[in-house]
């Protein structure tokens, strides 16, 4: 084995060891009780991680997500329910942490916007089709096949 190759191998091994160390350090703490852990994860899956905004705190391994999962676990152990935990989170971080935002004035557009757009689109479609139905045949352009010269 050449010297250069050996040095490369050593570097790769060192990097691998570092990565393994990093992963080990981030391993989340879990409750021994699988039922409790399932509850923790169910609630965590509805909460947005604020550090990495498009992940839930169940998916994220950011420091804050781990802390918030621990917080959820502690609160469940103290006998608090889902509603209380969600209230605890929104008191501190706002509705933004919820993947299912509550229905209120400021979120009405979010909830009803898509349906309103769909209905609007359908209304325009119906209007156009009905108008076209009333037009006399000579108002349409000829189809391509109609204008083709007769085949020999």
């Amino acid at each position: 084995m050449s010297d250069v190759l050996r040095r490369w191998m050593a570097a790769v091994l060192a990097a691998a060891a570092l990565c393994a160390g990093a992963v080990a350090a981030e391993a989340p703490t879990v409750a021994d009780d699988p039922v409790l852990e399932a509850k923790v994860m169910a609630i965590a899956a509805e909460l947005r991680c604020l550090v990495c905004q498009n992940q839930t705190i169940a998916d994220s391994s950011a420091g804050l997500a781990v802390d918030l999962r621990n917080q959820v676990r502690d609160m469940l152990r103290q006998g608090q329910d889902r509603k209380q935990i969600v209230a605890y989170m929104t008191d501190r971080y706002g509705d933004f942490v919820l993947y299912r935002p509550p229905l209120k004035e400021s979120t009405a557009l979010l909830w009803f916007g898509p349906a309103a757009l769909l209905l609007g689109g359908l209304a325009v479609l119906v209007w156009v089709l009905r108008r076209r139905n009333r037009l006399a045949p000579d108002q349409f352009e000829l189809d391509e096949s109609d204008s083709l010269p007769p085949r020999p």
């Binding site: 905004q53 802390d67 918030l68 917080q71 929104t90 008191d91 501190r92 971080y93 706002g94 509705d95």
Partner: protein, 176 residues
Amino acid sequence: MKSLKFLLPLLLFLGLALMLAAGLGRDPKEVPSPLIGKPAPAFTLTRLDDAQQSIKRDDLLGKVWMLNVWASWCVACREEHPLLVEFSRRKTVPVYGLNYKDARTDGLRWLAKFGNPYDASLFDNDGKVGIDFGVYGVPETFIIDKQGVIRFKHIGPVTETVLRERIEPLLKQLNV
């Protein structure tokens, strides 16, 4: 009127484009805090430089103060640090630090190295007080009024513009 009907799709498009352009200009990292206008959460924490002495929220009632969340592992904190040091020299308001998820020795070494703008730093080792303050990206800066109500929150490094255009006018308004 009828002749202008063909402009309708263009107007709709322009409206949509304007809305989207406004959306692009916003920073999605800045989440509006529900804590503005609410009393600061209660806390009792030890001082970073003295594990025997603790400070609680109500000790600070009656004065306007600044809370700056920082950590020795936080790179962006270094960016705002010279400005904070300079601000604290002016003695406008007391500046308290919240040393967030840090080790005592690391925090103290960091202050020794870069300067200490804080009247005192509170040692929040497990980050629980940080969660109560809705902290999600260090550094964060709060202004708390005499009644203990949070009046302002800034996420990310304080810049000269933020200091001049947001914080100083607010302090003036609060009669400091």
